[in-house]
Symmetry: C2
Subunit: 469 residues, 2 copies
């Protein structure tokens, strides 16, 4: 990663490094910088000192400072501006710290890409599943959970994934986790400081989770055929050996493209030749509209691919349930980390989900949701054509969000603010890049949690907001 070095006229950072501490100097420096940004001590838009100047102040190597800046750029705390230096990101950035704070007021027309239709959560079916669980579960189910997950759920997931995604799944190689967020956490711990190539653009919160557990992230560019797998060799030559590659092959997050079949093959070949790991985040695989679904890559190389899934897009993020299907050699390590993290997921909800899947209600809910989301996607495409002249929509063959290319680059933060004033929530694509692009022509718009009239009205207002700029 190329890191701008800033100027020497930056502020005093008041960072203290403890050479005797168990944590390394780089981790301490990164923590110090994060704290300073979070606390507001380093205000938004402030220019950081040049890496050379800070290295000299702290008595550390310049490389260490460059790496630390690079890490915080990746996490969204900092922003590099070519030729101008490194700056503290806008407080409205996409860092973990920002996400921790309650959004002050949710806009009425919120195109947040992470949600399914929250009003469509199957409350009755879920209550029935809970009632059956509380009636039938043996007393021992109320003791400490199996850290791998309830066997009933692992069985149901294995059968489901085999059937709908072609995943080679065995209950013994599945670990149930608290959503994809904890899946990334567990994998980063198991990879133990390994170097992970991540799609760029990608999802900043996932990068922040990986980085917080010591993963070294390198950006793997994405084009209209998905992640540029051929770049891996050059990346490894420049950065060092790559231990794992995180991809979203079915529907790239956020661009929405599918990973082209030759690239899928090339990625698996890379994994085989380099003893590397592919992390296949199949986050919204359940939603396909215009094209035949491709089976998961994991089915082709179960010993090289970690498959990740979640109910956050099928039922609700609030359930905090996801799963990892692991190569056998990783199972013990991941289970051990899960045990040390929280001793396992709550049992009753796991059994309820197993009941929902095994009894067919999960499939029925998905079929109904697919129809609903397809209509909302069509409404988005129509509304963009009507209210955003010159814009086009991409990435809509699958999933719950689309990319809207405005046809002209805009300042993403200013657009967010202008849209916010009209009670519309939009999400600039530029902030999904590791090296944030404050000015870009892309927006990531989720459409699943808005009814068709709200989509129409939201896009109409977005058009007005663009005129405001």
């Amino acid at each position: 990663m190329d890191v701008e070095t800033g100027t020497s006229s930056g502020p005093e950072l008041l960072l203290e490094l403890d050479r005797d501490a168990r944590r390394g100097l780089r981790a301490q420096l990164e923590d110090g910088l994060r704290e300073a940004v979070r606390s507001g001590r380093l205000a938004a838009h402030l220019r950081l000192p040049a890496t050379r100047a800070l290295a000299s102040d702290l008595g550390v190597s310049r490389r260490l400072v460059v790496d630390a800046y690079g890490q915080l750029l990746a996490e969204g705390y900092l922003v590099a501006r070519h030729g101008a230096g490194t700056f503290v990101a806008d407080a409205a950035g996409t860092s973990a710290a920002a996400a921790a704070e309650p959004r002050p007021s949710v806009p009425r027309f919120d195109f947040f890409p992470g949600f399914p239709d929250l009003a469509n959560f199957p409350r009755q079916a879920w209550l029935r599943a809970l009632r059956a669980t509380l009636r039938d579960a043996p007393d021992r189910a109320f003791g400490y959970p199996d850290p791998r997950g309830a066997l009933e759920l692992r069985r149901a997931i294995a059968e489901h994934l085999r059937r709908v995604r072609g995943v080679v799944a065995d209950p013994e190689t599945i670990v149930v986790c608290s959503g994809a967020a904890q899946g990334f956490f567990l994998l980063a711990r198991a990879l133990d400081g390994g170097r992970i190539a991540v799609e760029d653009p990608g999802l900043p919160p996932h990068r922040a989770i990986l980085a917080a557990q010591g993963a070294r992230l390198v950006p793997l560019p994405v084009d209209e055929r998905g992640a540029r797998v051929d770049d891996l060799a050059a990346l490894a030559a420049a950065e060092g050996p790559i231990d794992a590659v995180l991809v979203t092959p079915a529907h790239q997050s956020p661009t929405g493209v599918a990973l082209a079949p030759p690239r899928r093959a090339a990625l698996l070949a890379w994994a085989g030749e380099n003893e590397g790991l592919v992390i296949e985040d199949d986050y919204d695989a359940e939603y396909r509209y215009d094209r035949a679904p491709l089976a998961a890559m994991q089915g082709l190389a179960a010993d090289r691919v970690v498959y990740m899934g979640t109910v956050s897009k099928t039922l609700a993020p609030a359930l905090r349930l996801g799963w990892l299907v692991l190569p056998a050699r990783l199972v013990d390590r991941v289970v051990s980390e899960k045990l040390l993290a929280d001793h396992g997921c709550a049992t009753i909800e796991q059994l309820a989900l197993a009941h929902l899947i095994a009894g067919g209600a999960y499939d029925r809910h998905l079929r109904q949701a697919r129809r609903r989301y397809r209509a909302r996607r069509d409404a988005l495409v129509e509304a963009v054509a009507r209210h955003l002249p010159g814009a086009r929509v991409t990435g809509v063959a699958a999933g719950l969000h689309a990319i809207v290319r405005l046809g002209q680059a805009v300042d993403g933060m200013r657009l967010m603010q202008a849209a916010g004033r009209r009670s519309v929530g939009v999400y600039p694509l530029g902030y999904a890049y590791m090296d944030v692009r404050p000015v870009d022509d892309g927006l990531v718009l989720g459409y699943a949690n808005l009814a068709e009239p709200a989509i129409e009205e939201g896009i109409r207002r977005l058009g007005r907001a663009l005129e405001d700029l």
Copy 2:
């Protein structure tokens, strides 16, 4: 901690250290040793190489090896035998690895100390709370959870803790976590490699969680008046400054004694004078039988004490719900770690628990449970008097477990095995020490999950097992 150095005739350990890795050498060495024990590559009872010999093999300082051995002794992977060296702990030890494996068959008369009465889980009340939640919760409750926990639950916990434990609790300083296990995880992350004094004997799984997140543990001895708080100064002089002290003042885990009032005062004075943190694990505070409950220490020094609670002893470990009441300055850091760990606990169960507490059903359940457990405790005391001549029961004024002093030291593993053959599960106190005591006269016996006739029969069989030895 004094670490036996072993002999130089130990096995080749086949450990590799990567000097360029982001993780420190000590952490790598510890991980390598843990892996080797877990995988069975280092078999139980094997003598490890002398620290000097291993340091020379690996090209690291002897201090580093001594520290790593010390850490694994603390976690229960290794056992020191005075004058004989350092050995791999018995596979039946209390390490995290052992706990991860399903217990092959649960004994019929299992005195496992961690359980409430699992058959008494309030299934109907819980289902009613879930039904009310699924009926009343707004759609947004199905989105991503607040990483601090649902506000409704934080309010209910604050009110409950103020009322029953004298805790100074504000919903803004409470973080809901996945049981005490995740509470320890979050605190260790927030303390960031800090040195924590932990009661010795204590709970090995909790030590393992803290150590896995980089905490440096030092043992604080316990006597009949609780943790020997006066030893803190000497400990700090020997080991270095102590950042936090983990105590179980209401009912020491596992000895069952209460922290004497002068020691409570001395501990708070230590915290004030040393800018130290007290972690008050109030794990079974709801159960008091023969003495007036002392309010939580936190009420006296809310800026110096982290209060921890859980429903694992009041409802069920399977719910994975607990809470931290934090000094204000720690809240942001802990919330940030929670966000990066799993994005927050599942919302529906949090709302159900809030409903249970606020509606009074939680209090009713506790009152009923207290009567039930008191009768079981009395049954244990009577059964010991009848079937274990020379033994005495201590630590029974509160909680869900007792210490049985056999009147003679026995080999804990052999007794466990002999009892297991008679389908009785017992838990030697010697394995709760950081420096494991394979031969000791204490047993930790939980009585809450066994009906009175089962307690009577289990203790009768334990008497037979003792005769077998």
